[in-house]
């Protein structure tokens, strides 16, 4: 009784050899394409095509009304060598990114840390802090913001500031505050990250005599660094593209005295106010490349400070 217990292979229902009648590869792919088509169509019509057109336009002089006229690299050279407002908008945007992103991430992390140990009412506070992220992007809140920081507005009445939005030195800060206030999304991500950190690490640290601060620096920050990195990249990319708050706070002009003229505002100004679509397209492409470069740099630096658990022994 050696082999009889094992059914002969031939007794098995026949698999691949006969069953398949393999449908041709193309047919199977066809089904995939049918299901993918809404996305693919959307990507082509709403993203790739406009991008291609915009790339073409960036080499033309196009005033929206007459047919585009090919000018080669003139838009790009004009931008870099003859347009002081362009550089002003670049500086404004960089200043904005440097103010808004760290402030927003710090606030998001602080609130996430405060919410983490909370036993009751957590859901309420979480939603309450998240709400501005949903509302804040809307034009209406931005307009309220303008009213709040305008002369005669709430902040003026409380602090006697005389209205930040009309002071070139302060206007950009009121724009940044509007972004900082929308810290809900990074906060929720931080919260999720914090909850992933094993409690044993804290216990071990406590046994070793680490205080709260020490625990934060030596346990929380390294364990949270991938999440921190993720938030940093995302928020930086968003900050480079800031538009709505600057538009609303300056009533669409980037004023006073160009102090809130962020990159996208100037792009909008060139395209839709001055009708230089070619120039605006060229600006958009430069922005895309710069954001790509900045993101790449962030990824580079991340090697030295982002700690992934799986590489713990490195």
């Amino acid at each position: 009784m050696t082999t009889t217990d094992i059914p002969a292979p031939t007794a098995r229902p026949k698999r691949p050899a006969t069953a398949p009648k393999r449908r041709p590869k193309r047919e199977r792919e066809g089904a995939a394409w049918v299901f993918l088509s809404p996305w693919v169509l959307g990507a082509i019509v709403l993203t790739l095509l406009p991008m291609a057109v915009s790339l073409y336009l960036s080499f033309t002089d196009y005033n929206l009304f007459d047919p585009p006229r090919w000018v080669g690299l003139r838009n790009y050279t004009q931008m870099f060598t003859e347009d002081p407002r362009y550089w002003r908008s670049v500086m404004t945007t960089l200043t904005y990114v440097v103010i808004a992103v760290p402030l927003q991430l710090a606030l998001a992390l602080a609130v996430a840390l405060a919410l983490k140990p909370m036993k009751r009412g957590k859901g309420f506070y979480r939603s309450a802090f998240y709400a501005p992220s949903l509302l804040g992007a809307s034009m209406s809140i931005a307009l309220v913001w303008r009213a709040v920081f305008n002369d005669g507005g709430t902040v003026d009445n409380l602090l006697g500031t005389g209205g930040w939005v009309n002071k070139p030195g302060w206007a950009l800060l009121s724009v940044a505050l509007l972004t900082v206030w929308q810290f809900g999304a990074p906060m929720v991500i931080f919260l999720a990250g914090l909850q992933q950190i094993p409690a044993e690490l804290y216990e071990a640290a406590a046994v070793d005599g680490a205080g709260k601060w020490r625990q934060f620096v030596s346990v929380t920050v390294p364990m949270l660094s991938p999440v921190l990195f993720f938030n940093l990249v995302l928020q930086t990319i968003q900050a480079f593209q800031v538009f709505t708050p600057a538009f609303a706070v300056s009533a669409g002009k980037g004023g006073p005295a160009d102090s809130t003229l962020v990159y996208t505002m100037y792009l909008y100004d060139r395209g839709f106010v001055a009708s230089h679509m070619g120039y605006a397209s060229a600006m958009a492409w430069v922005l895309l490349l710069v954001i790509g470069a900045v993101t790449a740099v962030l990824f580079r630096t991340s090697r030295s400070w982002v700690f992934y658990a799986s590489e713990g022994d490195r």
Binding site: D61, K167, Q196, V227, Q238, A257, V273, A284, I291, S310
Partner: protein, 427 residues
């Protein structure tokens, strides 16, 4: 946690966010409800104008039961931007209010319909031929003037009178005006006027008072950096002395009366066009009065009668006839005229103007009286500004911001402007 997944997720999320940079936006179609013809009609203006327009539209819909008119309006700056976007997307409203500055660009861009082809329903025989001709571009009637307007010094009557400063009078000069706003500031503690430095319109009046113009006949710049430096130095001195509004106030101007220093109760007077000045009444309950613009030092008047605004029809409209009917109604209908009054300037239809003049009420009468007081004293209007002017109007305001916030000298800002303007007019 598998760290690599986090990293990969980061990368793909970042890539997605990058893609979002260049996302475009689509246009919208035109809707026709219940078998009716739907027309879109848009204009800029204040709430007073909107209220009267809605009433007139209601009457039009009663007369033409097959037509439904969707209206919308906004402040001048916002309107200008929105219309430009709509027009270039091929989605211009069927009937649109246009500024003198826009018609050249819109007509040559193929956005506007040739209105002469709609003669059957759109009558223009009652409009002064000279005025009608302002709507011509290359000999084609792309737009029809809707009213006649002129610039004015609009002032808070009660405050000015109480201050004891002599009231503005016909033929006063820019130095008389400057003296008056200085005195007003001293006596009332409020700036005497909105800082005129930001206003291309006020600059034009000042320039014409010296026998020059914004643009030459061939559409290039009609003044030099020296002229503009002088104008901005003039305004800059007054502002530094507190005689006109400070930069923080001036920068809030957006074409609506609500955001002017006068409208906000922070100045005694303002330069504005006469028809929209009705908007101040709601903000200054003690009333406002209109005075002529200051003249050049030798008495040359700088202000002029200008077609205050035009009506045009979209070249892409599916309802040319109905659109033309609406234009005709707004221009030539007796009852519509009664409702609209002088909300868009004094009517252009001669019969209506004569008939309605005695019936004009309240502020409309003020505007009509103001215009007739100037009749025969003003010089001819300049020709329609070249396309580039549409953008230059904002440039002017912005460059002066640099002066009023003391970031540039009037000379530097003026040279900047002239460089920008030359580039703009060339392209």
């Amino acid at each position: 946690m598998p760290g690599h997944r986090t990293k990969g997720f980061c990368a793909s999320a970042a890539a997605l966010a990058l893609c979002a940079v260049l996302a475009g936006c689509g246009g919208s179609g035109e809707s026709v409800g219940g078998g009716k013809v739907a027309l879109r009609y848009t204009w800029w203006g204040n709430p007073d104008r909107a209220e009267r327009t809605e009433q007139a539209i209601a009457l039009f819909e009663k007369r033409h039961p097959n037509v439904q008119v969707q209206t919308s309006f906004s402040g001048y700056d916002a309107y200008k931007q929105k219309l430009a976007v709509q027009a270039t997307g091929g989605d211009a409203p069927d009937v649109m209010q246009l500024d003198y500055r826009q018609i050249d660009q819109y007509a040559s861009g193929g956005v506007l319909l040739d209105l002469a082809k709609q003669k059957a329903v759109l009558h223009t025989s009652e409009i002064d031929p000279g005025l009608l001709a302002t709507g011509l571009v290359d000999g084609t009637q792309y737009a029809i003037p809707q009213g006649r307007g002129t610039e004015t010094v609009v002032y808070d009557v009660k405050t000015w009178k109480a201050s004891g400063v002599p009231l503005p009078r016909q033929g006063w000069t820019w130095s008389d005006w400057a003296a008056a706003v200085r005195e007003l500031a001293k006596k009332t503690g409020k700036p005497g006027a909105t800082d005129p430095g930001q206003s291309e319109d006020a600059f034009e009046v000042w320039l014409r008072g010296r026998g020059k113009a914004l643009y030459t006949k061939d559409g290039s710049l009609g003044f030099t950096a020296d002229d503009l430096t002088e104008w901005w130095t003039f305004a800059d001195k007054l502002r530094r002395a507190g005689a006109v509004s400070p930069a923080e106030q001036t920068t809030q101007l957006d074409g609506s009366v609500e955001n002017t220093p006068l409208g906000r109760g922070k100045a005694v007077s303002d330069f504005n066009w006469d028809a929209p000045a009705s908007g101040y009444l709601a903000l200054i309950p003690d009333g406002v009065a209109l005075a002529p613009m200051p003249a050049g030092e030798n008495g040359t008047p700088g202000q002029y009668f200008k077609p205050s605004m035009f009506l045009g029809v979209s070249a892409n409209t599916g309802h040319a006839k109905e659109s033309a009917q609406l234009v005709d109604f707004l221009l030539n209908d007796q009852d519509a005229a009664k409702i609209l009054g002088a909300a868009r300037g004094i009517p252009v239809n001669e019969t209506i103007r004569e008939k309605t003049a005695p019936q004009l009420m309240d502020f409309d009468k003020t505007v009509a009286d103001f215009q007739s007081s100037l009749e025969g004293t003003l010089k001819d209007p300049p020709q329609a500004p070249p396309s580039g002017d549409n953008a230059l109007q904002s440039t002017f305001q912005r460059d002066y911001d640099q002066v009023s916030y003391e970031r540039m000298s009037p000379r530097e800002a003026a040279e900047n402007y002239v460089t920008e303007a030359k580039a703009e007019l060339r392209s």
